[in-house]
Amino acid sequence: MPYLNVMTHIEDREDDELLYDLDGREHPSFFFLDAEGEVLARHDADDVSVKAFEETGARVKRSLELRKKADAGDAAAKIDLAIVQGELGVLEFSDVEAAIEGATLAPEQEHAVGALRADATVSDLTLVLKKNRDDAAMKMVAEEFLALHGKGTHPARLANRRFYWTVLAGQSIQRKDAKMLRDAIEALRAVAGPEPADRDAQKLKELEEIVKGLEAPK
């Protein structure tokens, strides 16, 4: 069922910001939804090859199969479904945690849940900073992000990735940590996309200069 949503910025227009509600940002963006409007899968709009759509189709099918099994009482499917729905933004992290409580997770499930936990942390800290951006708050946020980075768990959602890696880039420069700065640059380049806005391109260029300075032999 092909549905076209055009964001217009016309005041009070129905579903004009639906993309943001689905945690999307870029134009164009492609989503597969069920008949309730719930996200089944996202498709990377940079790749419109048949193969890419077949892979997304497989993810849609998996979402639907997991739902069917979970509804039938399959405990393993319930965990996988909760993780997938957390990744798609259909479930809050607290609901994912409730769904997986007491279960033994496979390594890839642990990794996926780690990313979800990181997203929830970054989202919560973003809200904290909206109320108060004094030095103490910024320091606390930086420390939390460094702790996440130390565990190797990073947020997956686009909005969170930008903030998280921007803070870590700043920390890398302060600490003269070339490796972390390289990680941050790579991550921010991915966030900016294949055609970065001028502001993002300029920022990436500045960070590249800084990291070259840090990497230069002493």
């Binding site: 055009v6 217009t8 597969f32 409007g37």
Partner: protein, 65 residues
């Protein structure tokens, strides 16, 4: 003051007209006309439910290129 208010109202109305024009132009593009798109989410949900299908949602914009 009243003049400033009236000018800002006119500017807002002009902008609203531009946004409507932008939408109309966008909907004339080949990607919009070559497919029988459903333009309201509620209609898409109803049809998807009736036909047992999933919804392919294409998000675009008209307020900027």
């Amino acid at each position: 003051m009243r003049t400033v208010f009236l000018l800002s109202m006119l500017a807002a109305a002009a902008r609203a007209d531009t946004l409507e024009d932008n939408l109309a132009e966008k909907l004339k593009k080949p990607f919009a006309t070559n497919v029988s798109w459903v333009l309201r989410l509620e209609d898409a949900k109803k049809l998807a439910s009736e036909k047992g299908k999933v919804i392919f949602a294409y998000f675009s914009r008209s307020y900027a290129p």
